[in-house]
């Protein structure tokens, strides 16, 4: 890309209202404003705009006017409404409550050493008493929406406590009447038909991990005995999807989704990764880069990669997914959907790690097996490496002390992009977010430094890609992006506050 020459353009104050800009192509300059409106201008148009010379009644003037980029006609009320809509989540309180019911795990993953325990370490199981207190704390949240996410280790290892949490929370919610949901992230290897029936009867949304094609998945996720973690997961994905149909759910909306962890070995296999997900019936791929939490330092060299290589992988993968969509295959990339929802709809899908300010403490809490409470799951994983920076107390600590903790205040400030060098001037500011726990781990402070920050590099790279696509304005691609940003709520997974928890389905096995 040939960079534009500002010295030649000679920008000066004139008709423009506040804006930020970024070049995204030889003849394509993105401008964005405070409330997240955007336009893509040619170099000639940008030159006029930057010189404050847009001529009334010209097509450019009309476009600028329509998107609130002109000082003399600046619609403060409209801008304020849009900012308010984008930031609706700020005062909501924690909605995601991650419950680590055990650190024990039946699989050994190459990228996860520090935050798991071997199967004989039963002292890393959450107790019933701790579980009940964790639920009490979660239901104390000011948020009317509560999602309890079972994590581990492998949550199925401590299924009695999973059951206890579901039943106790459902019972308590009869009185509290929140919009309660349960989700479970599991490798499925320990799933049984009885456990599945219990989870279905209690409307627990199921999610698993797939690292790509069978060979890669099994190389990264070691499962003792059968030695085929992929088949274990794939078999249950198929079975759960069948079970959803059996109970009358729409399979296009209700199906198992999986999470990908992109390691160095994944990068060359972008096509195989996408094909694997499509083959398993997944409609979403979340191309998450490996993060620095939880794995041993010596594994880093084997797994890590420059973010430029990741972004190449990302572009190839999403290009391929777009091609598949053109052929009628329904598959979307989650990062793209998150950003596009903000860009195209002016809404925020409330993805907690990618909002401004981020969700640590004010949008989520993580409850460790031992009753300690953390600002986020990353904070909990850091504690597994003897760093308690993000510990807010325990399940006996009053709720208001947990969320009013000074660490949360620091994290809210640190993830406010209006205090972040670089972000204050970045054209992607209205759509972006930073992660305080990541910044702390990778760069030594919750603030981080965005210029050499991997999360920033990934966010910028993905948004560059998406705006390039938007600049191309291919109607077929625009229609695909439109579908990717259409959120269809999965109402089935919302617990009926009047309903008694289903106990029978699991009695035979657990």
């Amino acid at each position: 890309m040939k960079p534009i020459n500002l010295a030649e353009i000679k920008p000066r104050p004139g008709t423009q209202a506040f804006f930020r800009w970024r070049q995204i192509g030889d003849d394509a300059i993105l401008i964005t404003n405070l409330e997240g409106n955007w336009l893509i201008l040619t170099v000639e148009e940008f030159t006029q705009f930057a010189r404050g010379e847009s001529t009334p009644d010209s097509p450019l003037h009309e476009r600028l006017l329509d998107k609130n980029f002109l000082r003399s006609n600046y619609d403060v009320q409209a801008a304020s409404e849009r900012v308010k809509a984008r930031k609706y989540f700020v005062h909501g309180g924690p909605l995601l409550h991650v419950m680590v019911v055990t650190l024990r795990c039946n699989e050994t993953c190459v990228y996860c050493h520090a935050s798991r325990a071997n199967m004989d370490e039963v002292d890393t199981d959450m107790s019933i008493e701790t579980a009940r207190k964790a639920v009490d704390l979660a239901l104390s949240s000011t948020n009317g929406f509560i999602t309890i996410e079972f994590q581990g280790g492998e949550p199925l290892v401590n299924f009695p406590v999973v059951k206890e949490i579901i039943e106790y929370a459902t019972e308590r919610n009869k009185e509290i009447q929140k919009r309660l949901e349960f989700t479970m992230v599991s490798n499925f290897a320990l799933l049984t038909e009885e456990k599945l029936q219990y989870l279905l009867a209690n409307k627990v949304q199921l999610c698993t991990s797939i690292d790509g094609p069978e060979e890669l998945h099994n190389a990264q996720r070691k499962l003792p005995v059968s030695h085929n973690a992929f088949q274990a997961a794939a078999g249950w994905i198929k079975r759960v999807n069948e079970a959803y149909i059996e109970i009358g759910l729409d399979p296009t909306l209700y199906h198992v989704e999986a999470l990908l962890t992109t390691t160095k070995a994944t990068l060359g296999k972008w096509k195989e990764v996408v094909d694997t997900y499509v083959g398993l019936g997944c409609k979403t791929i979340f191309l998450r880069p490996v993060d620095p939490f939880g794995f041993a330092e010596r594994a880093r060299l084997r797994l890590e990669y420059p973010r430029g290589e990741y972004l190449e992988f990302y572009r190839k993968s999403v290009d391929y997914m777009i091609e598949l969509n053109k052929q009628g295959v329904e598959i979307l990339e989650r990062y793209a959907a998150i950003f596009l929802t903000k860009m195209l709809r002016g809404e925020d899908p409330n993805f907690l790690d990618n909002r401004n300010p981020a969700g640590a403490g004010i949008g989520q809490l993580a409850y460790s097996y031992d009753g300690k409470v953390y600002s986020c799951d990353e904070g909990r994983m850091l504690a597994a490496t003897q760093d308690q920076t993000f510990c807010l107390g325990d399940v006996d600590t009053p709720y208001r002390k947990i969320v009013g903790h000074e660490t949360i205040r620091a994290m809210v400030i640190a993830t406010n992009l209006d205090q972040q060098p670089d972000c204050v001037n970045c054209a992607y500011n209205p759509y972006c977010g930073t992660n305080a726990a990541y910044n702390y781990k990778a760069q030594g402070s919750v603030f981080g430094r965005m210029r050499d920050n991997n999360v920033c590099a990934v966010h910028k790279g993905i948004q560059d890609y998406l705006f390039e696509k938007l600049a191309e304005n291919d109607p077929e691609v625009m229609a695909i992006f439109e579908r990717w940003t259409t959120i269809r709520p999965r109402e089935h997974f919302v617990q009926d506050p009047g309903q008694t928890p289903a106990l029978e389905a699991a009695e035979a096995e657990v």
């Binding site: 309180g93 403490g361 004010i362 208001r400 205090q419 972040q420 060098p421």
Partner: protein, 180 residues
């Protein structure tokens, strides 16, 4: 904070940074007009897990930051990296300091809304537990008492009063020091 066996970095002016191989330390001198003290604090604090950090004022208008690596440092290149990392962090903190001042109202508004929204209104129990007294500010060890106050105000009464209380040895030492 002394330096021997000075090492020069070819790409960083001597006036800004110099290193000592024997001390495994490196010093940087920065202009206090360009880099406010709050930014120097911020950048320095980030290095205290890796280094022993000392800040001094070699001359009016400048700060000197000495980073002494906790672990052994084999090569001058590692010291150069410390200087480079510190310089980048210092620049980032300086700019953040400015940006935070510029956007203070917006940042405070969002933070207050986020925390207040998550905490909700206090219950009667919360209010009953709230400490309306100034007792939280009591300071039996005199930690919050300033050096100036202590040195400028010998207190014979304090010596007698604290002799029978926990921490008496330290209090006694303080009192002796104060009257010296």
């Amino acid at each position: 904070m002394s330096s021997e066996n000075q090492i020069s970095f070819t790409d960083i002016p001597d006036a800004i940074a110099s290193a000592s191989g024997t001390d495994r330390s490196v010093s940087m001198t920065v202009d206090s007009e360009l880099y406010p003290l709050q930014a120097v604090y911020g950048a320095s604090y980030i290095f205290i897990d890796r280094c022993y950090v000392f800040i001094d004022r070699p001359a009016p208008g400048s700060y000197r930051i000495t980073l002494s690596a906790k672990q052994s440092v084999e090569e001058a290149e590692a010291l150069r990296q410390l200087v480079g990392e510190f310089a980048n962090e210092l620049l980032s903190c300086t700019w953040r300091h400015q940006v935070t001042q510029d956007n203070r109202v917006a940042i405070e508004t969002v933070t207050v809304q986020a925390i207040a929204g998550a905490m909700g209104e206090p219950s009667l129990d919360d209010l009953a537990d709230f400490d309306f007294t100034d007792e939280a500010l009591d300071d039996p060890l005199g930690i919050a008492q300033s050096w100036e106050e202590k040195h400028g105000r010998p207190s014979p009464d304090a010596k007698a009063k604290t002799a029978s209380e926990p921490g008496a040895d330290e209090a006694k030492a303080d009192a002796e020091e104060a009257s010296a």
